[in-house]
Subunit: 427 residues, 2 copies
Amino acid sequence: MADQPPTLTDQLLKFARTTPPQDAQAMMRLSLMDWAACGIAGAREADFTDFVRANRGGGDCTVFGGGTAGPAAAALVNGTLSHALDYDDTHFAHIGHPSVAVVPAVLALAQDVGAPMEDAVHAATLGVEASIHVGLWLGRDHYQIGYHQTATAGAFGATLACARLLGLDKHQMRHALGLCASMASGIKAQFGTMAKPLNAGLAARTGVEATLWGQAGMTAAADGLAGPLGFGPTHHGTGAEVTPGKSPWQILSISHKFHACCHGLHAMLEALRDADIDLARIDTIRIRTHPRWMSVCNITDPKTGLEAKFSYAQTAAMALLGHDTGSIASFTDAITQDADITALRARMRVNEDARLSETQAEVFISMEGREMRRFRHDLMAPMTLDARSAKLRSKASALVGQAQADALWQATQGDDLAALISILSAG
Amino acid sequence: MADQPPTLTDQLLKFARTTPPQDAQAMMRLSLMDWAACGIAGAREADFTDFVRANRGGGDCTVFGGGTAGPAAAALVNGTLSHALDYDDTHFAHIGHPSVAVVPAVLALAQDVGAPMEDAVHAATLGVEASIHVGLWLGRDHYQIGYHQTATAGAFGATLACARLLGLDKHQMRHALGLCASMASGIKAQFGTMAKPLNAGLAARTGVEATLWGQAGMTAAADGLAGPLGFGPTHHGTGAEVTPGKSPWQILSISHKFHACCHGLHAMLEALRDADIDLARIDTIRIRTHPRWMSVCNITDPKTGLEAKFSYAQTAAMALLGHDTGSIASFTDAITQDADITALRARMRVNEDARLSETQAEVFISMEGREMRRFRHDLMAPMTLDARSAKLRSKASALVGQAQADALWQATQGDDLAALISILSAG
């Protein structure tokens, strides 16, 4: 083995023993607050009630909305609920939502074993960073063929985070990652259904279970992720070269959502944010986006509020008509049938443009009288941690109210895990 | 939708409403007994103790070896334990073990809701048949690239069986199959580790969870199995044409294992089963087998019980000397050094013969005085249900003792589910 170059599993085993840099931890704490606000708000959606009830087994781990469950069930439920709004953080290189797979797993186990906040932050930071690297390593082929990378790469990040938190030795952690390779799953066919957030919850549960079972002595493939017949080779992984731990950390380029819909729509919505248009004079609206988004969020004739969240035409019409795309309450079934909306949707043309990056969008609006307006935005435009903090506190307040948002801010920046947990259970 | 040809999901939804033919049900009851014997014996293996403990949540469903759990956890644990010995039934076309994914799921839910035995048999029969068809539909590509078809195809069969048992309507069942498409997983990299039987347990749990969550109103892709970005297209499925429900039913060509060793040795051992030979007069024993097995199970000088399970010479000598190759207890380190065994092994010659299929073997025994005896067997040769019953009862007796085997026979042929469950819990 000594003569072999390290595989991704070898790299991850080494990476799991490092301490994440401060800026990465700071970003993790911001994402922790954002994730918690999404989960508290998500638990208020009624649709998941029976699912939550079905997963309340014995255990003392807090579940969003109140009640307790064992750590695996708590990770499953909290992962699902905190992704229910599709409003949690994302990472474009990872092609997915990193915190929602990792954080519920870490918090459930941290509560279960009484781990300090600092250990939870370290573990979550490493887990998020690892999941982004696994996402990069799986790559575009994996995502394009139809895998839901939030869940697949996320499960490995969750496993690494949990294994780190519980202090698994290298041997146990290898088996935990191997066990994860048999459980990591989730397909994009689920987009637009409740199974999309479920995929995130399953990834979080996989992290908890792979860790607990690996700790309990269950064996698995020595390199279930990157080895022969392993997860990558079977699941259309590209095997791109990655270096977890290398600066700058990937976690620092996490994107937070400020619109309550698919992230693929955000650059367009930001572009239209300050558009001052006489709607009566609009002839045609042409939206240009990166080709990848065409199969993700281009539902041309949405019928439900959920489908509206995956529709360029719908959200562009909402933005132009002054509906608040930052508010969850805006995405109703009714608004997809609103006469002004459907009239404006009829004027939309969505096209791919390979010259744009995935974080860029352009909108061309042809007005009567040959006038042409052009709007564009790139989500990768830099933002300071302070500016991000302010925007996230404002978003949290919109999601859960000012008092809970303030409490979340204090708890995620402090060192009292129990204080954070108590806010999550408040509902 | 009406003009589209039915997809595999459409076919399965229709199939789930049919009543399986009597011979298929009879085969299912035989496999039920065989599966139960494998599980009872598997639970006695110590390695899984901590894993079992970790999965004993709240619930009243029986777990092999005693104790109870919720239906999902019981399916997970029982599926894993009943595959621990790799001695449960197989199907050549399915490329996997059908009962071990379906039966634990059905029994756990049947116990949970108090369903009658007849309903459980119907559901399990349909589930096994469906899983074989999904296996055929996924095909060789899926298996060859590295997916563990026992688990992947098995999860869909388990889901269909559970959804049928609980009487889900067509809408709920569609969502249950869609949910399964996000959870079905398992890779061949795990072969040789505890994660191989775990894959079977995960498939069984997926059947229970997809059904309960679909029943609870969770939505998923309308065709998560065969539709765009669905399980088949993402997981290297070939999409071969299949027709679940067509005669003859695939379940009728299930293979049961009658020897506690590598499957490559079974045709030879069956050939020697009724050989009436004067051992003192044997000069040479020549064994001919398909070339593929030469690198799999031809250890010429085994030193351990494990090596004995991969040795033509050893197992042939054991069979001729009257040792029970159906009993796990027969494969000890000591028997490889037994004087009679080693003397007989010295007279063995094993050769490949490309004219034989993988399921065929021939044995030529040269006796003193130029007498030559020839024995051959094909594992694909038809067997009556009566002959199969007798062999399976004998195997069950070797696994769990005569009394429990008799009780299992009575219970699996009768209509008292509680009686069967009580045997499983006896340990």
